[in-house]
Symmetry: C2
Subunit: 200 residues, 2 copies
C-alpha cells in the first residue's frame, strides 16, 4: 500500500503495532485523528506517552497504582490471608467488578509461555511466595484464563507453594451463565460434569 504522505505512513506504522489493529484499521484511525482538533490529537498522543512514563506499580501486589501501595492492598477491611493470583490488571478489574472477592490480588504480569519466551523467572512469582509466608496466607486462588498458559503457570506455582501449608484453588471451569448446553464445547462440558456441585 502506498501512502500519500510520510506523516500518515509513520502514524499507520505505529498504530498497526498495537494488538488487533491491522494496517487498514490503522489507516482508518489515522484519518479519524485528522478530523480531530489539534488539541484533541495532542491529548491523545500525550496520554499514551505519559501513561508509559508515569506508570507505577503497587510494591506489594504489582497491580498498576498511583501510589506505592494500591487502593486494594491499602484497604484494611480486606482479608490479607486470601490471595488471588492473576495475569494482569484487566483481570483485577474484571474480578473486582463482581464484588464477590474480599481478599488481595497478586499480579504476575503475564503467564508462563515458552513459545513467546516468557519463563517463570520473568513473572512476579518469587514475591508471591514471599507474600504467602509474610501474610501467613491461608488460601491462594488461581484466576487464569482457561488455556495451556494458565494451566502451566498454575502447575508451576503449585509446586513452589507445596510445602508452605497453604490451600491452593482454581476458579471453576464450566458452562458460562446464559450459555446453551448444546453449544458448549466437549472439553468444557466434560469438566463441568467432573466438577459438578451438589445441590442437596
Amino acid at each position: 500500500m502506498e501512502y500519500p504522505s510520510k506523516a500518515i505512513k509513520d502514524a499507520v506504522d505505529e498504530l498497526a503495532s498495537l494488538p488487533g489493529i491491522g494496517r487498514k484499521t490503522a489507516l482508518r484511525l489515522a484519518l479519524h485523528i485528522l478530523k480531530k482538533t489539534e488539541e484533541e490529537a495532542e491529548r491523545l498522543g500525550t496520554s499514551i506517552v505519559s501513561l508509559r512514563k508515569n506508570i507505577q506499580y503497587c510494591t506489594s501486589c504489582h497491580n498498576i497504582s498511583d501510589d506505592a501501595l494500591c487502593n486494594i492492598c491499602n484497604n484494611n477491611r480486606r482479608n490479607t490471608q486470601l490471595i488471588c493470583v492473576v495475569e494482569d490488571t484487566k483481570d483485577v478489574i474484571a474480578l473486582e467488578s463482581t464484588a464477590q472477592f474480599n481478599g488481595l490480588y497478586h499480579v504476575l504480569g503475564g503467564l508462563v509461555n515458552p513459545l513467546q519466551g516468557i519463563g517463570p523467572g520473568q513473572l512476579n512469582i518469587d514475591s508471591l511466595i514471599e507474600r504467602v509466608k509474610e501474610q501467613d496466607a491461608k488460601e491462594v486462588i488461581f484466576a487464569f484464563s482457561a488455556n495451556i498458559e494458565g494451566d502451566t503457570t498454575a502447575f508451576y506455582i503449585t509446586k513452589k507453594l507445596k510445602n508452605l501449608g497453604v490451600r491452593i484453588s482454581n476458579i471453576a471451569r464450566g458452562i458460562p451463565v446464559g450459555m446453551d448446553l448444546e453449544f458448549t464445547d466437549e472439553i468444557t462440558l466434560a469438566r463441568s460434569l467432573i466438577n459438578r456441585t451438589v445441590v442437596e
Copy 2:
C-alpha cells in the same frame, strides 16, 4: 469500571474516543503500551501528535500530501481530463492499488450526511466544479460507497455539473468477484441484472 490509576484511566478515555474501539479494547491497548519501552511509547504518541500538526493537503485534489501538489496531481503522465471523485484518502489508496485508473482524483473530505450535520457546503465540491472547468474535464467518475450518503452526494454533484457538458459516471454496482450468487442481497442482485454487460 474502576481503573487502578489516573494515567491508565486517561489513556483508556482517549483511546476509546477512536472509532471501533470500546473501553475494553482501549484497556487492552493501554496494557500493551505499558509493555513497550519508553521510546516506543514516545514514538507512538508523537506520531499521532505530529500527524495532526504537520498534515498538508494537496491544493488541487485535497488528498493528503507532503507538498503543495500531491504525487498524483504532479504526475504529467496522468490524464487531467478524467476526474474520479472520492470520499477520502482511504479510497484513493484503494483505487490506486488496482493500477487501473490513469486520471486524477478529487477528495471531498466526506459525504453529504444530514444526520451527522454534514452538508454539501462542508465538502470540497466548489473546487471540484472549478477544476472541471479549468482542466476542461471530459468525464467525472463518482467512486463512493454504495449507501444513502454516497447516492445523495452523487445526486447533488450531478445537479451542479449538469450544464458543464461533462460526462458523469458511477463505478459499477454488482456482485463482487468471488461472491456466491445465492448469498448476494436482493438489491445488489437487482442492480446487477439491470446493469448487465453485453458479452457478445
